[in-house]
Amino acid sequence: MSSPSIMETLFQRTLEDLIKGFRLQLIGESAFISKAMEEIWKEIKSTNLQTKSIALQKLSYLGSLYFVDMSWSAFHCIECMSSPRFSQKRIGYVAVSQSFYDETPVLLLITNQLRKDLGNVNEFEAGLALDCLASIATVDLARDLTPNVFKLLGSSKIPLRKKAIGAILRVFEKYPDAVRVCFKRLVENLDSPDSRILSAVVGVFCELASRDPRSYLPLAPEFYRVLVDSKNNWVLIKILKIFAKLAALEPRVAKRIVEPVCEHMRRTGAKSLMFECIRTVVSSLSDYEAALKLAVSKIRELLGDEDANLKYLGLHALSVVARKQLWVVLENQEIVIKSLMDADANIRSESLRLVMAVISRSNVLDISRVLLSYGLKSDPGFCNEIIGSLLSACSHNLYEIVIDFDWYVSLLGEMSRIPHCQKGEEIKNQLIDIGMRVRDARSQLICVSRNLLIDPAFLGKPYLYGILCATAWVCGEYVEFSTNPTELVEALLQPRTSMLPPLIRAVYLQSVLKILIFCMYSHFQKWGSISFPSSHNLEGVLSESISKGTALESSDTLTSAQDDVFNPRKLRERIRLSFLLRRTDSVKSLLSNCCVIELALEPLLGTHEVEILERTRNVLGLIELIKQQIPDQLFPEEESLSREELEVWKLIRSMNDASCEELGPVSFTAQEKIRIPEGLVLEENLRELDLICGNLQPRSLSFFPQREERVDEWHDSEWRSREDLEPSNESMSLLVEHRKRHGLYYLPSSASNDYPLANDPRSGEHVPDETEDLVRLAAQSLAPKKKPNYSKPRPAVVRLDEGEATFPVVSNRSNSKYDLLSEVVHDVLQETNPMDKSSQKGKEKVRGDIPPGSKENLQDLVDPRREKLGSGKSKHRSHGKDRGHKIPQKVDGEKDENSERARKKGSHRHGRNKMRQRAEEQADLLAQTPDQIPDFLL
């Protein structure tokens, strides 16, 4: 039995061999790893702990650096950690800390081993156990091992006590009731003369306070003492972090610490401490002018420093100040603007954030110009960052800072043209949103949209499709603001639109339909009919063109008007002719529009995309309807026509009515406002529906079964072949024709295009070349102008009631774990305070070095108050509380085994009681905290 294990041990590859092997291997890394894993598999099953531990060591090496799964080795880890030999134990512990987590199944098996090792006389073995506890403790582990950790908190060995303090953080997190046992001893460690202990315990409080600062306000005097006395920068940094949290909650704390913090800021040579002082002042003490001034001067030092780190942190501090004191940023604007061109991406984005902080109505034009010109020069990532922050700054609170919407809409267009622009989605949303909200911006919106739509270059850029979709929608929706709808139709139907995804293409087609309806409607309104002017309309038009309405009053129909002797014939004839001429022009243009549309859409009838197909049919159907009227134009038979025409006219009018209904923004709360009609039961069982649908075939999920069949049949044979044929003869000729007509949109001729291309360098023409110029320009624009002189007043922006833009922020601080923890801390602090008083004599010695007058007076002031609170509370918390009082004291006093068992039992029972009671007490506590906490601080 032993001989194979000896062979294994002697010839086993150690970790070092493995590492060397890695460097010499020729079979490729992954092959080498799987070979090594095979060995490990074999070795780890060995009964010899030495073999097993070395295998485990290799495994944890592979797991850590080569990402090999080691969760299967959990049981072997436990075996190794229970070895009596330190080296094996250590390997086991390292593997456990590395690979165990809350769901590891064998986790429960390590409790006893940990307890044994925590009580080990060898500080390093106990240290291993603490390290393990600090990284993987679960609720159960934390609960079961609290007494052992508590014992170590008072250890005389500094390194061990230090580690126990470190481990207590995780224990508290997992098992808040441990606070009742350990908190007092933890606080006592704040008095430790050893700086390592102090550093550890302050670190723990810093972590605790960062999660729930309010609970630790009562400890402010202790922290204050450390702030004043400590000379260790690590400790001071952590203490400052704690105070930054506390001072934000309690102004009296802020008042107390201002002086010491400034003193540290002036005195210290360590940049880290100085920066922490600055951060504390700007985040929590900015109401104290002298302190703020000092901090600002220090920030300026950092900004001027050669070291990129300090510069970055200086900018970071500035952005904290900017939330409240904008002037500080303005004072340092030159550095901020110059930093926009820094080689370091962090510094650039930090300064961008600062520029965004100072943006306002008066400078938004200049800042945007400067930033965009910076964006064009820098790398795509930063450029997008700039665009993104400009977009969000300008749209903030319903375009609060935008006055000139024409400018802003053109800016959006300009942004879309920037190469690599990845903010298409945001630009799209804003284009639509502005269209709906700002009536006055619509004509400019149409203009910008037209320029974007008409450029065939954009159609090759998938990241811009979102924007194109928005512009197409805008053109359809607000076509009445367009000067040339024909142009829009052509742009929407240009050949390259076939590159668009179907849903966006559907938007294009829908817009074509809207534009067509608009054209027809305006034609009808102006000229009365497509084929022949109805008498009624003619009269209207004529009376418009000549003011002599009386001359035409008797004309009933055209023929009768011709025969009429009363009127001056020549004049009327001329008017009639010019009228007919113009009307014919209009008809012609309408017809040519229809032709263009038909030509472009006919191939689409073969598409498989329902959205496109449906819209195509709609448009073509409408054209068909109109075309029926056209041939009659040559043979005017008004009597028969007028009725039909009337119907067409009706149809078009109603369609136009439908599409010209204005769309408005929708409030976020709109849905809630709809009252549920009476008798409507939304949750009613839908079984009846099953009965109705039961007799239908399962495939009737599609609503058009017959049609589907048809399509199925056609798909493969008919349409395919037709599609194949089409390009060869029919569509080729169509294409040629189209090309002749719309040469503009075809690629080869696009060089001579009138419209700027997407990446046209000309669009950046106004950009000054020199950075210096930019800095100057920026400096001017950043400076707040007294009188922003705008020719136009800000147009009305549609805003729905009750601030729709502010989303209802759901504050789910449902972090029950921390809530529990802070509750227990509350309890314990209230308990320990009376004890403080009783052990005042003992403590007096330690506190001798506190500045006189600060503490003693405080205690005197506090005591009566606290008494009162205690008595008031006793009614509510009588029995549960008693047990809570006893436990820490018992722990303090006795240390033999028996009492420990008793205590454990007690704490269990007590924990259960506590749970029930906590709910009742909570309301109580919340009500009391504001009165009770400040007493400690004066």
Binding site: S2, I6, T9, L15, E16, I19, Q50, Q57, S64, L65, F67, V68, D69, M70, R85, F86, S87, R90, V94, F100, N122, F124, L130, D131, A134, S135, P159, K162, G166, A167, L169, R170, R196, S199, A200, G203, V204, C206, E207, S210, N233, W234, I237, K238, K241, K271, S272, F275, E276, A308, N309, K311, Y312, L313, A343, D344, A345, N346, I347, S349
Partner: protein, 165 residues
């Protein structure tokens, strides 16, 4: 709280990786990869801080230092001071230097477990517990002694068992 310590070479090969909140290995690999991708994009002579929230989630910062062929990367949250973390990297590297006399990448490759114990002395469960390299060295020497002693003892029972047979 420190969330992770990563030492890797300039080719992106990790030499030491420790995550203080549990991460499955696949996630670890992904994190290390994205850190390396971000680091290798950075120019020389720029600041030692890097945006980390896109990699490690909200409230995370990253400090790194570049020594010869190695990156030392610390990831931490808002309860640590950025410059102090930079100093801590310095402490770590100084300790390594003391331990291996003019440390280079090879030392780190071959002394994986020693490096791990040095790191464990400095950072404990995500908290900084020791900042003096002298103290760390003391502890490391003690641990090495203990390990050597336990290994020496380990041979005896085998030898006896063997000879007895």
């Amino acid at each position: 709280m420190i969330r992770a310590v990563i030492v890797m070479n300039t080719q992106g090969k990790p030499r030491l990786a420790k995550f203080y909140d549990y991460q499955p290995v696949e996630k670890q690999q992904e994190l290390i990869r994205s850190v390396f991708a971000a680091l290798s994009n950075r120019a020389e002579n720029v600041s030692n801080f890097m945006e980390a929230e896109s990699i490690f989630g909200p409230d995370s910062r990253l400090v790194y230092k570049h020594y010869a062929t190695l990156y030392f990367v610390f990831v931490f949250d808002s309860s640590e001071n950025e410059l102090a973390m930079l100093d801590l990297i310095q402490v770590f590297v100084e300790t390594l230097d003391k331990c291996f006399r003019n440390v280079c990448e090879l030392d780190i490759v071959f002394n994986y477990s020693k490096m791990q114990s040095i790191l464990d002395e400095i950072i404990f469960g995500g908290q900084v517990l020791e900042t003096s390299s002298v103290e760390v060295m003391k502890a490391i020497e003690e641990i090495s002694k203990l390990e050597a002693a336990s290994n020496a003892i380990s041979l005896i029972p085998y030898a006896s068992g063997w000879s007895r047979r």
